[in-house]
């Protein structure tokens, strides 16, 4: 696997965790309502 691909993958996973957590909070907020 090329160095660039590993670095891009690391960025994607790390940023993905942050975006995923934000999406999870959005869903929890919607489920709680009010």
């Amino acid at each position: 696997m090329s160095d660039e691909l590993i670095v891009v993958g690391t960025f994607l996973i790390s940023y993905g965790v942050i975006v995923g957590y934000a999406a999870y909070l959005h869903l929890r907020r919607r489920r709680a309502g009010n």
Partner: protein, 236 residues
């Protein structure tokens, strides 16, 4: 548009700017493209320290004032601290595998103290999840939140106290031991990650407030609508 949405939009832009700096900063001759990982690794670990510090602060103020807002701050910040530590550990392991030739070494104090800190804060969240009563939960987690923060200076100074695999700090009060462009990229990413932290902190506190209101509504409805007892149902 709510305050949380505005903050999340600013955070998304900040992340984009941070990514641009990370991908355009110069690379180290020996590390090559892997140099760029430091732009995720260092900011996420810094934010983990800040988040756990905020958890300790919220916990300490809760112990004095007993106001639920400080418990919510401690909880939200601990959750974010765990997330940033996970990103820091993951990105560090990828970098370590490429540059050191190994992803993990239990003999390295920086790595092992970070792992212990990570698991202690997962324990903090587990303790909260295992305690249903809000006041008992707040008290127990506040005590742990105040005690657990001693790990932050331990992790930070572990590289100075025991020199093994992990390098010492590159950005110190007495100077910066890396090219200016690289340091600027890291600095921009620290700012971007801080904005992300603030936005997600408010979003998480907002969720906690909404869930508390929903739980109070269910409790009220529970008082009003009681299921009939079998002994009261005569025509069965």
């Amino acid at each position: 548009m709510t305050r949380v949405r505005v903050l999340l939009a600013i955070a998304a832009v900040a992340m984009g700017v941070g990514l641009w700096f990370a991908l355009t900063a110069p690379t180290d001759t020996l590390q090559g493209e892997f140099t760029r990982i430091i732009n995720i690794h260092a900011p996420s670990m810094w934010l983990a320290f800040l988040a756990f510090g905020m958890t300790a602060l919220g916990s300490a103020i809760w112990l004095i004032r007993k106001q639920s807002r400080w418990d919510r701050l401690a909880e939200a910040s601990a959750e974010l601290g765990v997330m940033f530590t996970a990103i820091g550990l993951f990105s560090g392991m990828v970098w370590g595998q490429a540059v050191w030739g190994r992803a993990w070494d239990w003999g390295d104090p920086r790595l092992s103290t970070t792992a212990v800190m990570f698991f202690v804060y997962i324990g903090y969240l587990a303790l909260r999840a295992a305690t249903p009563d809000p006041t008992v939960r707040a008290r127990r987690s506040a005590i742990l939140g105040v005690i657990a923060v001693v790990q932050v200076p331990l992790v930070y100074f572990s590289v100075n106290m025991f020199r093994t695999l992990h390098q010492t700090q590159s950005i110190r009060p007495d100077g910066i031991t890396m090219p200016r462009e690289m340091a600027i990229a890291i600095f921009v990413n620290v700012i971007a990650f801080t904005i992300v932290y603030i936005a997600l902190l408010f979003a998480r506190i907002d969720v906690a407030k909404a869930e508390e209101r929903a739980a109070a509504d269910i409790a009220l409805a529970g008082d009003a609508v009681k299921p009939p007892r079998l002994s009261e149902v005569k025509d069965v």
